[in-house]
């Protein structure tokens, strides 16, 4: 296989499709073999730009917040090993933020392959100084993991299409793992009684005090009042939230990504409505990830294929997929391939191949092309 530093599509050989469980897992997560569509390319570039913009913003914002600190209360990260108090209340933090911006530009223009890694290390130092007051806020973590995926992709691969696929697969994988870790932490920290509705009431009280302290007044919304009045509703909300987090690891499989992302967005909406906590950047990243995740589903369910089949279906005793009424074949092309979650259903009629491909669905892989012959 040949790679180029130019923006060429990675052209796999027929023998490149991996075998074995680990290889199959990697293929499912990263899907290097599928040809990249133009809109996938543009999405990948836009996603990278968004993550870089968010990272630059965080750097300068943290540098600004560090100005009002004087004392390290609880060292975190590299601050546990190196005294970062010299950054507190000092313009050095802005110098760091400027360096982060500079190396990000170098990395984006591909002048320095490891520019993104340098940015992550500098951002970590800023993070350790910013959150040295005892409380860590997790709003930046998802974007940071996406940034790490992009940094690994740029440094380890030469082809831009491979880089984009790796970064996206990495982001999906660690996004799901992060939420699963959060769910496990809750069960380890409290046990099976975590979804007790009283806990949500305590948190609502705590966040109400936060709102009062920050704004000078507090007014509970309809959802919060309902939760405070109905213990069962509070318990149900916590159970649904915990379950959504625990199954987050399934995001490594493309077929589960969109439903999980919808669930996680619902989780964050619920957190905002009950506890006034906004994960703005995390929510935006989840919304962006829903775009390629939805693209898999529109292709996988074969929305446009089904329409084409309905239009082009011949009256030969075929079912709606165009397959003859042999149950086993229908099961193979319908539910079985859906559970397979890797390749679109095998179309029987040739028209869908010509009419169907939605924006983000990759063109059929070599295996599917052989099936269609």
């Amino acid at each position: 296989m040949e790679y180029s530093r130019n923006d060429l599509v990675h052209q796999p050989s027929q023998s490149a499709i991996p075998s074995g469980r680990w290889a199959s897992f990697l293929s499912t997560v990263f899907n290097f073999d599928a040809e990249e569509t133009k809109l996938e390319r543009w999405f990948g570039k836009a996603f990278e730009l968004f993550i870089l913009a968010v990272s630059v913003r965080y750097s300068w914002f943290w540098a600004l917040q560090i100005q009002s600190f004087q004392v390290v209360v609880e060292p975190v990260g590299v601050g546990s090993h190196v005294d970062l108090s010299f950054l507190l209340g000092s313009p050095s933090a802005f110098v760091l933020a400027g360096l982060v911006t500079a190396v990000i530009v170098l990395g984006y223009t591909r002048r320095w392959r490891y520019g993104y890694f340098a940015a992550i290390i500098l951002m970590h130092i800023l993070f350790a100084a910013r959150f040295s007051q005892g409380k860590i806020m997790h709003s930046s973590y998802l974007a940071a993991m996406a940034f790490l995926g992009i940094a690994l992709a740029v440094s380890a691969f030469d082809t831009e299409s491979v880089r984009r696929r790796f970064a996206l697969g990495f982001t999906f994988l660690f996004c799901g793992l992060g939420y699963t870790f959060a769910g496990i932490c809750k069960l380890v920290g409290t046990g099976l009684s975590w979804p007790n509705g009283q806990h949500l009431r305590m948190w609502i009280g705590e966040k109400a005090v936060d709102t009062y302290a920050t704004h000078g007044a507090v007014d509970l919304n309809v959802i919060q009042n309902l939760v405070l009045d109905h213990y069962e509703l509070a318990t149900a909300i916590l159970i649904v939230g915990l379950f959504t987090e625990l199954v987050g690891f399934l995001m490594w499989r493309p077929c589960f990504r969109f439903p999980l992302l919808v669930g996680l967005l619902g989780l964050h909406v619920g957190i905002f409505l009950t506890m006034n906590i906004v994960f703005a950047v995390t929510t935006l990243v989840l919304c962006l990830l829903a775009i390629p995740a939805l693209g898999f589903w529109t292709g996988h369910i074969g929305v446009s294929e089904r329409l084409a089949l309905l239009v082009c279906r011949r009256d030969r005793g075929q079912d709606s997929l165009g397959a003859p009424h042999t149950g086993s074949r229908f099961r193979k092309t319908g539910c079985a391939s859906l559970l397979d979650c890797r390749f679109p259903p095998r179309p029987v009629h040739p028209m869908p191949v010509l009419l169907s491909y939605s924006c983000f669905r990759p063109r059929p892989s070599g295996r599917l092309r052989r099936l269609l012959r």
Binding site: A16, Q70, S140
Partner: protein
């Protein structure tokens, strides 16, 4: 397996190993790696800080009271560009209110701490035996522009 997949696999395993090592040796947090322990300690008592502005002539009173009996009027922390979390953690983790610690708190509340009389109150929430939420408000410090007063049961500034 192709080179691309092999390389991706190695990167994935390397990242996971590094993830595990760093969070295991740094109490679960090493940005951007984390075990995400938010809200994992459910049902535990909590404490938060609220700030009230009191008149110049107000005599410090350190009794634990309910919200409606707090002295002065609420001072919104957004006026000093601060979130409640940093100040709450700073106060909660301070055992001895030395001049350095009081100075750090003044820095967090600046410039208002050098212009107004601010009463720093700690709100403590817990579940009662009948599973209802009880919130008590304990005045901790009074920060005047030129001097500071600390709750008698905490360390006084020298």
């Amino acid at each position: 397996m192709s080179t691309v997949y092999r390389r991706a696999g190695r990167l994935l395993i390397g990242t996971l190993v590094l993830y595990g090592l760093l969070v295991a040796t740094h109490r679960g947090e090493f940005w951007p790696f984390s075990i995400y322990p938010m809200f994992s300690q459910a049902g535990q008592p909590w404490s938060r800080v609220i700030v009230h502005e009191v008149p110049q002539a107000w005599t410090p009173a350190w009794d634990t009271v309910s919200l409606d009996k707090l002295h002065g009027k609420p001072f919104a922390l957004k006026q000093v560009g601060q979130g409640n979390k940093d100040i709450s953690e700073y106060v909660a983790r301070t055992k001895d209110w030395t001049p350095e610690r009081i100075s750090g708190l003044r820095a967090l509340l600046s410039p208002a701490s050098s212009q107004r009389n601010l009463l720093v109150i700690q709100a403590r929430g817990r579940l009662s035996e009948r599973d209802s939420l009880i919130v008590e408000h304990v005045p901790l410090l009074l920060l005047k522009p030129d001097t500071s007063f600390v709750h008698p049961r905490l360390s006084s500034p020298s």
